[in-house]
Symmetry: C2
DNA sequence: CGCGACGTTGATTTGCCTCAACGATTGTGG
DNA sequence: CCACAATCGTTGAGGCAAATCAACGTCGCG
């Protein structure tokens, strides 16, 4: 197993050798091909997923049958349907790889076990979730404040990586509008 | 100090008497009048606030000068600008009481201190933030999926308490549309 | 090579906003 | 305790951002 998760945790909390080996015992490494699913609608989300390498999307199917992307995940991001994971209830989301991925999976049960053996991990996740929630607060602000065009300009400036790595129609979906409208914006001024 | 915070923490993690008294030493209770501010734009957010009694709103001022509400907080909710709080940077938000409130404040510094003395508190906040983030995931889904009218119907059904406690124009703002349009929806069918 | 996925373009439609005006209700100072 | 202002909710006319629909060019891949 690559050490990208351990390295990531160490950025936030200290770990000794014994704790590192406990963590490695509690998680599971997965190699996932392009366009495979870690979660489908109706399933109970099995784990919290850490991206070692690759790129994923989370989406749901809207009432007109279209795939609505709500988030992407790149290297060193955690992704899951936390509602489904915590309450062990069926999910309304899909999680799918966009590229071939190397993923580390931490199940609900293994998290509990790990937290009791290694309190620093609990602190790590407190920080991770606090940051995730903070980012969600900002994102909700943008969803209220920005026009669709402003959303695109903002995204383009802040996440140029994504624009080169992800197809246009997925970016349009994530930003909450149609591929046609994205074309129109891009035509105006690039 | 009322025990509503202690009671709330005990719902998620066990606490002994000593831990309870440490917690009480680390927090500060505030009585806040109606329409007063816990945070204004440009300030660094001083604390994480727990609502013992009363009701608050968080908002920002949009580019046309209007107050855009992004969340409400009722009894037993935590509210703060977590980005400002964590990075000690100026906030883009206001937090204001809607009713007279009894609030418990936990500063960034006091949180650190408390976490080192009482690990259970770190676990409590891990759970709180995970739930908050989970709720934000759901909320973002609704923002993509629902029309403005569906947003209102959904809100009305799931949070009838708010509809009776909070003025219409604030509900319209929170749901992301104008008071005029809310009138139109209500006229259709109630 | 040929097919399907992706991106673009233009015509038309629509959900919701803006603006302006007018009742109703609440609060406040004289 | 009343007069008057300010705040809040409603109604209607007109306008705009973005969606929908349909058609067409293009590229990558089996």
């Amino acid at each position: 197993m690559s050490d990208s998760l351990i390295t990531h945790i160490k950025k936030y909390v200290p770990l000794n050798e014994q704790e590192i080996s406990i963590i490695k015992e509690c998680v599971q490494e997965l190699a996932v091909k392009k366009k495979e699913y870690l979660l489908k609608e109706g399933q109970i989300c099995k784990a919290n997923y850490f991206v070692e390498k690759g790129c994923l999307r989370m989406f749901f199917v809207g009432n007109k049958g279209e795939e609505q992307i709500t988030q992407f995940a790149l290297e060193n991001w955690w992704i899951s349907d936390y509602n489904s994971l915590m309450s062990q209830s069926p999910s309304g989301f899909y999680i799918q790889t966009i590229e071939p991925c190397s993923i580390i999976a931490l199940t609900h049960q293994q998290h509990e076990k790990l937290a009791s053996y290694v309190p620093a991990v609990e602190q790590y996740f407190r920080i991770i979730y606090q940051r995730a929630y903070s980012a969600a607060q900002q994102r909700i602000k943008y969803l209220y404040d920005f026009s669709r065009e402003e959303m695109y300009r903002h995204f383009q400036q802040h996440y140029p990586t994504f624009v080169n790595r992800i197809p246009q129609y997925m970016i349009a979906s994530f930003l909450g509008f149609t591929p046609e409208y994205l074309s129109e914006i891009r035509k105006k001024k690039q």
